[in-house]
């Protein structure tokens, strides 16, 4: 009996030295393997990621609190500095907006009258879930943020995330207490969009810079700088008409879009649930029969609306 610890060491010793010798190679291989498994969307890798992030979410929530108050202090200093110019700018803008208000009032009345004539069924408004961004955009290799809205608050994959007035990205990962939003600027992000003035459809592809590219425009598209770009709703994942940004550059390097969202001040995020069941909806969800030909139809289609409300 007294010799038991000795024999244990004797047994463990070769295993231990073998581990020391091959640990490095094994771990390098494991890292490669994880990358491949992650690329293949293996459920267990994703589950592990979600579990770890969920566990750390409370820490990040606490830590992001002083960070956001620091942002507020910086903002206030900047505001005090150019208060004078701001007042002048706002006065001018106010005058301009008053004129627009008149126009918009008239248009709204006309729109309402036309809708009454055609018995238009208005799409249901979105369910809005608000939360705070608890991680930053992630650096040059990846563009995504964590938001403290989880499954228990009603988050699910494929929801649109907006901040202020602008589109931010799409929810790609949901845990109990958090969800990860893939920003539209990420290398892996491709958003079906439409140029609002010319109705030219295209795909907004991120390249990890702050100015995503507008790709696959029609041959005869005549877009110009300053044209607003909104989501088209094509594919049935996102709702149509979420404002994204304006075209800033058209050249050999492609058409670039400047998002409305201020990436440096991405503090509060809202997830919009239009109850659309697209390709990345909940498992078992009925996918759309076909991508709608005209963007508005995605939310107008009564079939989409009823299938959405049937969800538990």
């Amino acid at each position: 009996m007294a010799s038991r610890p000795v024999s244990f060491t004797r047994v463990a010793q070769p295993v231990r030295s073998l581990w020391h010798r091959f640990a490095y190679a094994a771990l390098v291989l494991a890292a490669f393997g994880l990358m491949l498994l992650g690329k293949a969307d293996v459920v267990i890798v994703e589950r592990a990621r979600v579990a770890v992030t969920d566990a750390v979410t409370p820490i990040l929530e606490v830590l992001s609190e002083p960070a956001s108050s620091m942002t507020r202090v910086f903002d206030q200093i900047a505001e005090l500095r150019d208060l004078r110019g701001e007042v002048d700018r706002l006065r001018e803008e106010n005058g301009r907006l008053r004129r627009w208000q008149h126009v918009a009032g008239g248009l709204q009345a006309e729109n309402q009258a036309l809708r009454n004539l055609t018995h238009f069924v208005a799409p249901p408004g979105p369910k809005v879930i608000s939360g705070r961004a608890i991680s930053n955009a992630g650096g040059p290799f990846v563009r995504s943020i964590l938001v403290n809205i989880g499954e228990r608050h009603g988050a699910r994959r494929g929801l649109a995330a907006v901040s202020g007035n602008g589109f931010v990205g799409v929810v790609v990962e949901v845990g109990t207490h958090h969800s990860r939003v893939l920003l539209m600027t990420d290398l892996n992000s491709q958003i079906p969009v439409i140029v609002q003035t010319t109705r030219d459809p295209g795909v907004l592809a991120g390249d990890n810079s702050n100015r995503p590219r507008l790709q696959f425009l029609p041959q005869n598209a005549h877009v110009s700088t300053g044209d607003p770009v909104v989501t088209s709703g094509e594919g049935g994942v996102l709702p149509a008409g979420l404002p994204i940004g304006v075209i800033t550059a058209i050249g050999d390097a492609g058409v670039h879009v400047k998002p409305i969202v201020d990436w440096d001040r991405l503090e509060y995020v809202q997830l919009l649930d239009y109850r659309i069941e697209g390709v990345s909806g909940a498992p078992g969800a009925k996918p759309l029969k076909a991508a709608p030909a005209y963007p508005i139809k995605a939310s107008e289609d009564p079939a989409t609306v009823t299938s959405g409300s049937r969800r538990p």
Binding site: A23, Y24, L27, V28, A30, A31, F32, G33, L34, M35, L37, G38, K39, V45, R49, V52, T53, V56, I59, L60, L63, S64, A67, S68, M70, T71, F74, A133, I134, S135, N136, A137, G138, G139, P140, F141, V142, S144, I145, L146, R180, L187, N188, D207, N208, S209, W263, D264, R265, L266, E267
Partner: protein, 169 residues
């Protein structure tokens, strides 16, 4: 004489310090600091820490710890799982094999070594990101982040030396 329980706990805690401090120092990489464009060029603390400990105390930064630190970074930052883990393992391997070059030499030798080795690390991350996304990542932010990481290495090393001296011993 066998050391008492408290003593063993103390030694164990001290030996854990490099990994634990690395984990905590890496949190600003993830938390939104609210500084304009900072997340783009935020120096990668885990990279610096793994290099430092691999050179000066490789016994306290075994490959398994490096792997776990890399995975934690990947999951929190939203990287492809294993990207930072692989990069850190490569940096660890090179740093450990070349540590005789840096130990006992003036600091700028280690700094220069870090600049060269981390350049390889960033190149590896860039290549893997391009392969995984099947697209060419053309952004200067990678270069800026590399430069920021190299420039801030002395500051980080100053902190690591403090940890080394007072917490690890």
């Amino acid at each position: 004489m066998t050391p008492g329980l408290a003593q063993r706990l103390d030694v164990w805690a001290r030996n854990m310090m490099p990994s634990v401090t690395t984990l905590f120092l890496a949190l600003p990489n993830v938390v939104p600091l609210g500084l304009p464009a900072m997340s783009d060029v935020m120096p990668v603390v885990t990279l610096m820490a793994v290099f430092y400990w691999s050179v000066y105390r490789p016994d306290l930064m075994p490959p398994a710890a490096v792997f776990v630190l890399g995975l934690a970074h990947d999951i929190l930052a939203g990287n492809p799982t294993g990207l930072m883990a692989l990069t850190l393992l490569v940096i660890h391997g090179v740093a450990v094999s070349q540590r005789q070059v840096f130990v006992g030499k003036p600091f700028f030798v280690a700094w220069l070594g870090f600049a060269v080795i981390s350049a390889g690390g960033f190149l590896l991350m860039w290549i893997m990101t391009c392969i995984l996304a099947a697209e060419l990542l053309l952004t200067m932010a990678v270069v800026f982040q590399y430069l920021m990481t190299v420039v801030s290495f002395p500051l980080a090393a100053w902190i690591f030396v403090r940890v080394h001296r007072y917490l690890v011993r």
